[in-house]
């Protein structure tokens, strides 16, 4: 890229600015519980921020590295099951279990990535759908982990370590803020690291990247591991938040799409895209189904679908482009 020496300082300055904005957003989110008291709205905000974190996790592989995975529900589900099984069967609190879930999720992402990264374009996308579906079917038929009946996480007592809260949502809010913040800061670090540069190179032009001696395969694997690990942690949090998991609700193909969608609509390969995308998409989806879905007319689906089409066509670079402040590091393409 021409002019990289010239742009070095401005890039550093921009990155610092982004970090400051990130901290301001984080502080703002932390103040939310003081303003929002209504449980339903809190629930909505928790889901939105959780999806922002998940979409950021997806973004690391799908956005920065350009590997459009439509099977992330697999890592999400694995994280959820690992942490829940550890808790229900062995009594290991989910505050620890979620990291075990993330670890196994990351391992599986490597396991899937190893054969699938040889595939290109649509072959890769379809293969990830199929791998996700196989995972779903195997979990559905695996009696040890409850099979189709899923796992019910009984409420025993109020506990921060075990993430058990009777009605309050406030601790959840801080937990998902911490989660999304972690995903964001990892993405921020990646953007400025050598990995980040090589992933963008891989995405932009594989052949050119290869000639620049970027080791394509290992860099994809690294992206997969980080992405799968973060997604697994998100799944563990979600499981404990809902209190019940079954393959239908946490491993279906629809969920894979829902993890990717905020990043795609918000702006792939950007720091803020996933957050902006989920801030629009998740409330819209939840509110339309809450207030229009009760008629059962399908209107909520029509609005949701039409909105996806419109954003994708009108703002292919993502909603983030509406806010001119945040540019992609290498500038407009």
């Amino acid at each position: 890229m021409a002019g990289s020496i010239l742009g070095h300082n401005s890039i550093q300055r921009r990155r610092r600015l982004e970090l400051i904005v990130g901290l301001i957003v984080l502080a703002g989110l932390c103040l939310l519980p003081l303003v929002v008291k209504d449980v339903y709205t809190q629930n909505l905000i928790i889901l939105t921020i959780l999806y922002a974190g998940l979409a950021q996790a997806w973004n690391i592989l799908g956005g920065y590295c350009g590997q459009v995975s439509l099977g992330h529900a697999l890592y999400f589900g694995i994280g959820a099951y690992v942490s829940t099984m550890l808790y229900v069967k062995l009594g290991i609190p989910p505050t620890l279990g979620m990291f075990a879930g993330g670890l196994v999720g990351g391992l599986f992402a490597l396991l899937v990535g190893w054969p699938c990264f040889r595939l290109s374009g649509h072959y890769y996308a379809i293969a990830t759908v199929v791998v996700g579906e196989i995972g779903y079917l195997l979990f559905l038929n695996w009696d040890f982990i409850g099979g189709a009946s899923g796992i019910n996480i009984p409420f025993k007592h109020e506990s921060l370590v075990e993430l058990q809260f009777r009605v309050t949502k406030v601790p959840w809010l801080y937990l998902v803020i911490a989660y999304a913040g972690l995903a964001w800061i990892i993405a921020w670090i990646i953007e400025g690291s050598r990995w980040g540069y090589s992933w963008r190179a891989v995405k932009d032009d594989v052949t050119a990247a290869r000639s620049l001696a970027v080791r394509v395969f290992p860099s994809k694997m690294a992206a997969a591991a980080i992405s799968g690990c973060l997604t697994g942690i998100g799944g563990a949090i979600f499981a404990q938040f809902v209190g019940y998991i079954d393959p239908d609700s946490i491993m279906s193909g629809n969920l894979s799409i829902l993890i990717a969608l905020p990043a795609v609509l918000g702006g792939v390969g950007t720091l803020w895209g996933p957050l902006v995308g989920s801030a629009l998409l998740i409330p819209l989806k939840e509110l339309s189904s809450s207030y229009l879905g009760s008629s059962g007319s399908g209107l909520d689906l029509m609005i949701y679908g039409a909105l996806i089409v419109l954003i994708a066509l009108a703002r292919p670079q993502g909603l983030i482009s509406l806010l001119g402040l945040f540019r992609k590091p290498e500038g407009a393409r």
Partner: protein, 291 residues
């Protein structure tokens, strides 16, 4: 396990496989032409099934007679989708691949919602057609007529698509596929070719929908039952290869039928997905995909 049981299973697998191939044909065609995977393919199938149902109830005509009407109808739907959405998605200079995936995905949700809006969630069936629930016995093997008819139509459709590829139009298609940018120079209207390609793809899935309506239930969700299998069929055969889709459809149908017979039937799809992944390991672009 008797020989009869195995023969019967092989036959059902073959018949079902040809239907999968027919469903996948349109998807394959569109992909081969313009490198677009239509994630609303299952919903087009559902639209065709509902169109068959409505026309059947309205006109009292047998689904077989409705074949050309629904095919033309879906041709129009396909062209409209191309002109309204896909052409725009292709003109995007940023993220083209992702934009087209999510545009067709959003379209799928929209169509499903619209079907729910107009038809409600009830499961419907056509059971007073000529072929409905009819079956013939041949040396101890039973051949269900609706599926047999669908298989014949499938083979005819593939023959027709093959014949089209030999015409001048087919050569224009082929040229567009080979080099999208250059065809403009030799006086081919690329946009028009693409629109017709989408029309043909949708018409093919329309034909599949009519034949399915003869023996399968109809609901707003029905497309999802076939969509994933269609993607796997196309990817296994090799994106853009019509012959590949035909062979892959049969392979998938047989694997499904046999694994349901010998494995736990709830895991039969794992069987066919595993075969697909195994093939991809050796041929990353499917059985007949151009490398």
């Amino acid at each position: 396990m008797t020989a009869e049981l195995i023969l019967q299973t092989l036959l059902s697998g073959l018949l079902m496989g040809l239907i999968y191939a027919l469903v996948a044909a349109g998807l394959s065609l569109i992909f081969g032409l313009m490198d677009v995977v239509n994630f609303a393919h299952g919903e087009l199938l559902m639209v065709a099934m509902f169109a068959t149902l409505v026309l059947h109830n309205l006109l009292g005509l047998d689904p077989l007679l409705l074949l050309p009407i629904v095919a033309v109808l879906l041709f129009g739907v396909g062209m409209a989708i191309y002109r309204l959405l896909i052409a725009r998605a292709l003109s995007v200079t940023f993220n083209t691949g992702m934009v087209q995936i999510f545009v067709t995905f959003g379209l799928a949700i929209f169509i499903r919602g619209a079907a729910q809006f107009f038809f409600g969630g009830e499961f419907r069936s056509i059971n007073n057609s000529w072929l409905a629930n009819k079956t013939v016995a041949l040396a101890g093997i039973y051949i269900p007529l609706p599926q047999l008819a669908a298989s014949v139509v499938c083979l005819l459709a593939f023959a027709l698509l093959l014949a089209i590829s030999k015409t001048e139009f087919g050569r224009a298609l082929e040229a567009t596929r080979e080099d999208r940018e250059a065809v403009g120079l030799i006086g081919i209207d690329r946009d028009r070719i693409f629109a017709i390609g989408w029309g043909m793809g949708a018409a093919a899935v329309g034909v599949a929908g009519v034949m399915l309506a003869n023996f399968y239930y109809i609901s707003p969700q029905v497309g999802a039952n076939f969509a994933l299998i269609a993607y796997v069929t196309v990817a296994l055969g090799g994106f853009g290869s019509l012959g590949g889709a035909l062979i892959a459809g049969i392979v998938i149908g047989e694997v499904e039928a046999l694994s349901a017979l010998v494995l736990e039937p709830s895991l039969k799809q794992v069987g066919m997905f595993a075969i697909y992944l195994a093939v991809l390991m050796f041929r990353p672009r499917g059985l007949f995909g151009r490398l």
